[in-house]
């Protein structure tokens, strides 16, 4: 009695032998043998295979003959079945021609997604699905041509025999006759399958699931798997973990849809071939990974020319609820200091707060990005950080920011940044100022201080600035003395007003408790130490000097 390992290994051996016979015996014999294999009639499957090889006078190699003999012995069939098999190690294997069809030809994947959508969802570890026409006959009693091949790639958790059978049955019920070749990822591919895969048209597993779903079909353009067929062995790049994390259902499709909508860009006309791997990585960690900063939803930074960004920063920012940094500029206006993720700008618009840059050099180092200054809409960087590129017109319209030319912005920020030392000194007279003041008084002072700079701001920027001040005042009224944890999601980072740095008298950072600058290490640092209890973190980073040592 065969043990459990034989019960699992033997069908796999038979399946692999059938794969080796593909293109050499007729397709219906292969299909029948696979069906018998799947329904646990291994003896009939092997007998059918052996007899077909003899009747068709199909030569096999000596190794194949030995393997077939082992299989015949394993299923207790008559060894005489193998006696008359033609053995010829030098006999060339028949080479077949495959095509995905010309423009007027029926597509090899037509109707496949609808037919197999349901079964694909329930079968384990289906990695890929491809279709191709074979235009040459196979075997002695060969069927008509073109003959459709459906190539299925499975992962380690898949069971090829049952997958082949179930997929074939689904196709048959749909009136589609096809040979289903199930290949395990990482396994050796025969020349027959390699030739087929080279021109096969891949079907998106999400498309197959959507085709089955009763919900309205979502546009699959741009979300399909790349049509570039490749040998199965290359799919080893996808680890089992990734394969498990890639749900072949509408959820991932909707996730992609969210990327597209948040990026506010049309679905790309071309298949996202080059970017799908990156998109795959994105999909593997939808909760952790922000989409790349590009208009195209699935395009990574390399495709848009944007510098690579570190996703944890963006997601960290989003997790803490902090307003994100300024949205990226258009491609042509991008500076190396552009912060990532257009979706963060969407978050900014939703929160009605202007985006804020990570203010400290430490923050920038953690994200592998140079420190960036907030956009001109924000009330000027109080940190004196280098400027950030302005947002694109699209993102600007979403966030309420108006596009600004980088040179002008740089000049403006340069002007603003010059008083940074003055701001540091400006903090000096402030240090004795009580941090806690009446909200009304604080607001009046801020309004006065910002009055000079308002002339330089657009109406929208002024509105945003007003909203910011109101929000800050509101927060102070609710929690005036509470020390907020660095990772608290409740703490907004109030960007400093542009004019505050210009006017030392208006440097009221202590008042709001929002200390960000590492440059005010002198008197401001002592002032912060004085009011450490009121100091709050910026983007999760405690203010300079607030920690011992």
């Amino acid at each position: 009695m065969a043990d459990s390992s034989d019960r699992i290994a033997l069908p796999i051996r038979v399946h692999e032998f059938l794969l080796a016979c593909a293109g050499r015996i007729d397709d219906d014999a292969l299909t029948d043998a696979r069906e018998l294999l799947a329904v646990a009639e291994l003896d009939r499957a092997i007998e059918l295979l052996a007899a077909s090889l003899v009747a068709g006078r199909i030569p096999v190699t000596a190794d194949e003959r030995d393997e077939l003999r082992d299989l015949v012995d394993a299923v207790r069939s008559a060894p005489a079945l193998v006696d008359r098999i033609i053995v010829n190690d030098s006999a060339p294997f028949p080479r077949h021609r495959f095509t995905a069809g010309l423009s007027d030809d029926p597509a090899p994947d037509a109707g496949i997604a609808d037919a197999v959508g349901r079964v694909i969802e329930v079968l384990p570890d289906i990695r890929a699905l491809s279709c191709v026409w074979r235009t040459t006959p196979a075997g002695g009693p060969s069927g008509s041509v073109p003959h459709r091949l459906v190539l299925v790639e499975t992962g380690p958790s898949g069971f090829a025999p049952s997958t082949a059978y179930r997929v074939e049955q689904s196709l048959r019920r749909a009136g589609i006759r096809a040979s289903v070749e199930v290949i395990a990822a990482g396994s050796e591919v025969t020349p027959y399958h390699a030739d087929a895969l080279a021109v096969a048209r891949r079907i998106s597993l999400r498309q197959a699931a959507v085709a089955r779903s009763p919900e309205p079909a979502e546009p699959a353009d741009g979300y399909d798997d790349p049509p570039s067929p490749r040998p199965v062995t290359t799919t080893r790049r996808r680890s089992g973990a990734h394969a498990e994390k890639r749900p072949p259902d509408t959820a991932s499709g909707r996730w992609q849809q969210r990327i597209a909508s948040s990026a506010d860009s049309p679905a790309p006309a071309e298949p996202a071939a080059a970017s799908f791997d990156a998109g795959g990585r994105q999909r593997h960690e939808p909760a952790m990974t922000m989409p790349p900063p590009a208009p195209s939803p699935a395009s990574p930074g390399s495709r848009t020319g944007l510098p690579p960004v570190s996703p944890p920063t963006a997601s960290a920012g989003s997790r803490t609820g902090l307003p994100p940094a300024s949205p990226p500029a258009s491609r042509t206006n991008l500076s190396p200091a552009t912060p990532p993720a257009t979706t963060r700008s969407a978050q900014a618009s939703r929160s009605a707060l202007p985006p804020v840059s990570p203010p400290t050099a430490t923050q920038g180092a953690r994200t592998n990005l140079p420190p960036v200054a907030p956009p001109p809409s924000a009330p000027g960087s109080r940190t004196g950080l280098p400027p950030v590129a302005p947002p694109s017109s699209r993102t600007a319209s979403r966030t309420g920011l108006s596009p600004v030319d980088p040179p002008a912005l740089a000049a403006e920020n340069g002007t603003r940044s010059r008083p940074a030392p003055a701001s540091a000194s400006a903090a000096e007279p402030v240090k004795d100022t009580p941090v806690q003041e009446a909200p009304a008084a604080k607001e009046a002072t801020v309004d006065k201080a910002a009055a000079d700079a308002e002339a330089d701001l657009s109406n929208r920027e002024r509105e945003l600035l007003r909203q910011l001040h109101e929000e800050l005042a509101k927060r102070e009224q609710s929690e005036p003395a509470e020390a907020v944890a660095p990772s608290s999601p409740q703490f907004p980072v109030a960007p400093p007003a542009p004019a505050e740095r210009a006017d030392p008298g208006t440097w009221q950072v202590d008042r709001t408790g929002t200390r960000h600058s590492a440059y005010s290490a002198g008197p401001a640092g002592s002032a912060w130490q004085h009011s450490a209890a009121e100091q709050t973190a910026v983007n999760g980073i405690p203010p300079y000097g607030s920690q011992p040592g």
């Binding site: 029948d32 009939r44 007998e47 007899a51 009747a55 002695g140 008509s144």
Partner: protein
């Protein structure tokens, strides 16, 4: 391989028409036509058992003549169910079927068969009918009468049909002096003549 064994096996496979699934029956006939009777002898008994197909006495004699000489498993043969009479037909036949695929501009199969078999030696008549199963499946059945070489003619005509797209061809090549089964009698009764070969049965009748 003896001619007697081959003839007995061909007759056995003729008698299994309508009882064994077409998908298996045509392949066994192809193996016989290709000279794989030893392999068929090993596969057929297990198939009859798994498909729960019984045999009448005459058929057991054919099994004994055709398969035992090539090493068929006696144990398996002994387990085949014995029937007192042939089972009733599960099919009906008609010269034309409303659900049959019909080419409005001609019958490609008929044209091809006529080109192949008209005036061919050893071929008497070539006829065709439509068979409908109890499940509603409609298949075209070719009925050919021949005086010799029936297994190879069967294999040839099956491969022609498969090349034309028929996945499970039904080709019944009957010896001219063979007593047809009820299945074949019903098929002949509802068939249309496609062409005649060199062995015109009516000509033989006239000149005999």
């Amino acid at each position: 391989m003896g001619e007697a064994a081959e003839s007995a096996c061909h007759e056995l496979l003729l008698r299994l028409a309508g009882r064994l699934p077409d998908r298996q029956l045509w392949r066994f006939r192809d193996w016989l036509a290709s000279g794989a009777l030893p392999e068929l002898s090993h596969v057929l008994p297990l198939t009859l058992l798994r498909e729960r197909v019984g045999l009448v006495d005459d058929e057991f004699r054919l099994v004994d003549t055709a398969l035992r000489a090539h090493g068929a498993d006696i144990g398996l043969l002994s387990s085949i169910r014995e029937l007192d009479a042939l089972p009733p037909l599960d099919h009906t036949f008609a010269e034309h079927d409303r659900d049959a695929p019909r080419a409005s501009l001609g019958d490609p199969l008929a044209v091809l068969l006529t080109a192949l078999l008209r005036g061919r030696p050893a071929v008497a008549e070539v006829r065709a009918t439509w068979r409908r199963s109890t499940h509603g499946m409609v298949n075209r059945v070719l009925l050919v009468t021949a005086v010799a070489d029936q297994p190879r003619l069967t294999g040839e005509l099956q491969r022609v049909q498969r090349a034309l797209g028929e996945a499970d061809p039904c080709v019944e090549v009957l010896p001219v002096d063979w007593t047809p089964t009820p299945y074949h009698q019903a098929a002949f009764a509802a068939s249309e003549l496609l062409c005649t070969g060199a062995e015109d049965p009516y000509a033989q009748l006239v000149h005999s």
